[in-house]
């Protein structure tokens, strides 16, 4: 069940980077939601390689086919299977990886676990697996819009290494974020981020950073006490994205420096609405949304594949060296922005259905 996520809006992703294709089956989509393949393609295109000069030059069209679950443009309430064929097969680019473990990749740990590994392009640990997530999340977004209009999820690059963007989570728009190829909400910082990525890439090196995300318009009451807290499910969802190393919600790690008197969010009445004066809680209290914007950040390590020679070991347990090949992102963050949004929408959709079941 390691490739399944969600209690009610349950997705099962499948596929390796090389093989017949990648995709997803969604079990738990309500009936009569408008859905076409074009709806999926928008986000898949934001995720795909080759879309700009700061992403990998690999060009993958990632054309999605809906195999089942819709009829005359509406969902049936039946499983929705989505398939994206693999195309850019170049196993020879990876032949050395059959024998040598790439540092800070999953090659060794997969072999240790399974005793077998599709060494072509990373197999199941390839970022290509996230296609299924993004496609499923495009469906989730339509379900959310249908059941609870007004919820909007946005993510943007907050930092690239030490280059930081100034973005107001309450007002930033999708248009601003998409207006620059690095996908940040601060056009001025975008320039510096792009410069940094190009510089690092020219050195055959790589760089990481953080992505910030906001959910605006989320009603109070979403999420569950105890284990399936909204922030706990978001934390799991984010840490399940390749290359992530951290998650924080609201005040996060920085909040540990404040006292309770400084940190507490005081309630007040805004007309008929209960609001908080500050939002250090990040929109969730006790695991449940309180109506304030849900705000969190995710840390991405620098891309593990770099173009210089590195010390490593072989499958036969001998010390050796390996030089990065192929066409990779020197910085995954611009393409990770739609993935962070996708994982957020998957979690929100699941909790929305859970709330309907019990509390409506």
């Amino acid at each position: 069940m390691s490739s399944q996520l969600g209690q009610l809006f349950r997705i099962s992703t499948f596929g390796e980077s090389h093989g017949g294709g990648v995709g997803v089956v969604i079990d738990g989509c309500p009936p009569r939601i408008p859905l076409t393949e074009a709806d999926l393609q928008i986000d898949l295109d934001r995720r795909r390689p080759g879309q700009s000069e700061v992403t990998t030059p690999r060009n993958e069209a990632d054309q999605a086919e809906i195999l089942s679950g819709t009829f005359e443009g509406l969902t049936l309430g039946a499983p929705i299977a989505i398939l994206v064929r693999n195309k850019d097969h170049r196993p020879e680019a990876y032949s050395e990886m059959a024998e040598k473990y790439r540092p800070s990749h999953a090659d060794y740990s997969y072999d240790a676990k399974f005793g077998i590994r599709n060494w072509q392009g990373g197999g199941r640990s390839s970022a290509r697996e996230t296609i299924g997530r993004v496609a499923a999340a495009a469906v989730a977004k339509r379900v959310i819009n249908h059941l609870c209009p007004g919820i909007e999820t946005l993510a943007w690059v907050k930092t690239v290494q030490d280059v930081s963007a100034e973005v107001d989570p309450l007002t930033v728009t999708s248009e601003t974020i998409e207006s620059n190829i690095v996908r940040t909400g601060d056009p001025e910082a975008a320039e510096r981020m792009i410069e940094r990525i190009k510089e690092i890439r020219s050195q055959g090196n790589s760089v990481g950073g953080t992505i910030e995300a906001v959910v605006r318009g989320c009603p109070p009451g979403l999420g569950e006490p105890v284990f399936d807290r909204l922030e706990a499910d978001l934390a799991k969802a984010m840490l399940s994205i390749p290359a992530t190393k951290g998650f924080e919600v609201g005040s996060g790690f920085g909040g540990t420096l404040l006292t309770g008197a400084e940190h507490n969010d005081h309630f007040y009445m805004d007309g008929e609405t209960v609001r908080t004066k500050t939002n250090r809680s990040g929109g969730v209290q006790g695991g449940i949304s309180n109506g304030e914007p849900i705000l969190f950040r995710v840390a991405f390590k620098p891309t593990a594949t770099i173009m210089s020679s590195q010390v490593t070991v072989s499958k036969d347990k001998e010390d050796t060296e390996l030089k990065g090949r192929g066409r990779h992102d020197a910085c995954v963050l611009p393409r990770a922005v739609p993935i962070v949004e996708a994982m957020t929408n998957l979690i929100l959709c699941d909790h929305l259905l859970r709330h309907r079941a019990f509390c409506d």
Copy 2:
């Protein structure tokens, strides 16, 4: 299912802070593991209030009774139900909470979700709920020891506000951590932390910090690709602990400042063992343990209950004020250390059973 955790070693916690009691049912414990009530009491005593001068003076014995699932000192392979009775009932201490929402607590969001709330001591959102987790984790620890001896989980207070401890995760011992009431691995820092907590408490204020944890002796191969990555499940488990705001594994947020060349963990042969020269991965690669120590940190916000008057709103949606009452921890971290360890052991035990099912 919001109170259930685990795919195979599945726990269901129950109970409010006021009412018949709190506890847990464990479904999925292997048979023939030695287990007595005394095994549970050790960790429950580390979690309980009133254990030292830096914790709340509430004195709760938290005596655990095993209701089922064992026979003649061994587990039966049947559900293990554990009950801890509630004792220190003082509903009058909470009567104001029936009408007013405590800032940065779950009072409002629970009401928004459920339309009802046990306002006595926080009900289900009370830290008392973690008793079931700690009891279940004591069982998990025995299962881990039985199936895979040599795995050891340790947690300690890393920072209290800006007071930081120097602790070597590779060598720190349980004895050192338990030698000071703040539960850190650095006795010198312990003094300063205790001083800080006392000072803050004397002001009727509160303080947060970070807890660091290590899993030593974990074999390579634990964890799953894609969603149920070991670090993703740990992230969820940690963010499900009350008052947590962040999680990071290995290099974490700090790692975003490094380049790939600096960040990558190079493999080398240490005799017959594959090791990495650095451990910025934090012991997990692609969601699966690689044999290095698993290392992560958790952020805890300052305790929401403080002894000064705060602005808030009432259940009837009117602006009002509320002053903290009752006996609370000015800093939850010393008592959260066993909870972090508990959540870690629950995740490890579940993944150990999953690994046995598929990959042994």
Copy 3:
């Protein structure tokens, strides 16, 4: 997870016949449903031993305590834990069972699976385990009444060995069924059934039979396509009751003798309601209720414990003999009637919540 049932209204039963007690945790009960311990006791009293001259003379009060999940007489939306203490401990009555396997009991298969067994009274395979189910189902019944008033589940003894009752599923009442100690809907047959049971018991022998059940007032649309069909979930629920050997819905096994032309249920309009002229489908089509009464039958084997000496083997794998001891039901059916109803209500409640989540 073998002691868990339900996707949304999820119950976890626990407890052996001897030990601290038996009970259940319900995770997934909606909030604000009226619930008291008295609500549980009615059905527990119908299930308990010692209630009439055709049941075992063991007298167990089976007093239920709600440990959590309610507040001021209403459910909180939190897990509801229910505990019934064990009382009538007489391990010496079972000491021979520690060494010898009772024929057609679970003694041998449990030992083969777990390598350990609580041999006192059957441990986990004891009918006493069904206390948790009946208690949980009493809660389910209240949820059903609250969310979808008008659904009524009734079960009755249809046959005892070859003694058959004439009962009209459309009109039989709870009062008629409860008016006789064998719990059938045909008072005349009740006499003959009681006579048969007494006769068999006087011989130290035992007898089985069938229970029939109906769900009246179930709206169309409950149940799911493919695996979680309403009849499939009912089949599993019924076959999970100790001593059951068969399940059939609607026309059942007898329907295999008809042709399609004879068997098909023709639709017609009854005012604004779609009805079928016959109900060989048993109220379900394609796994989903069609608004007609849901009708099914369950086969119970004769009680395995009999008072004569039987050939068997010992734990040490030697041929031996064993004579039944203790106080047992010569016919389990009268006490199984509330269990069949309970399992039906658990399945209905779960599907009602599932329907709300997706299709409301």
Copy 4:
């Protein structure tokens, strides 16, 4: 989650009879099991229409493609996605079904539940959905053979209407069953069954019957106490097959006529092996296999589609008539035999993995 089955060997089927295709994703297949597309095709060919003169003349090749989860002929431990494209599209054959509900089909109940329905060929309720099950079960069979060699599942037609076959479950072979197009283990009865089916079909009518199945070589210890009993999971699996109306294990409904003294299976030692003299338990005791052959029967109603005009109602809730069209099986049993085997293997494989996780 209605299209998912299994706790550890978890399958998710997808697809309508008309649309892109049907298939399955298997999450939970152990690594390094030999698997090719040819392995799947054997059972798919036994299930497909058009294979003999007693099945529907629709000719569907049902060619399976493995999209993911294997590498160089071995499973990877990753999700295995299998796709069978739909081909024989003839929506015009079904246009009348868009408006009128077929008696004893799922048309009305689907509309009542979902408010939408793919009326082309039954959509999700089509028997074509079972392709995914049969493909997944072919994988399950290989896992079983790998982990626990010697387990063999066989099913055969036991009765067609009142024509009954004499088959010895202990000795019947796959070769005998496959030697006749009706798939029974009694060649003489096969003749009469074929004759009956042809006769009924010539009348535009249809017929049902029973399928019997045996699992030979199953070790003691498979299955779980309480809800996930082996027989309970088999009951659910069988009742999830389209057109089934009943399930019985061991002595089944007939066993209710015996007394306990007649019914009990006495244990004896057969060398080092614990055996029972009779097998009225059907190979399971307390939900767990006891080493005897597992034996059960499944009732199938007569095919709902018949070639005569029938009274029904329209989607617009008006009384009307409908005449069956298209090419259908007058008796589904010959093609249901591989489906019964498939569902059995899916359940066995799941329980085998569960047993490994906890009890090995």
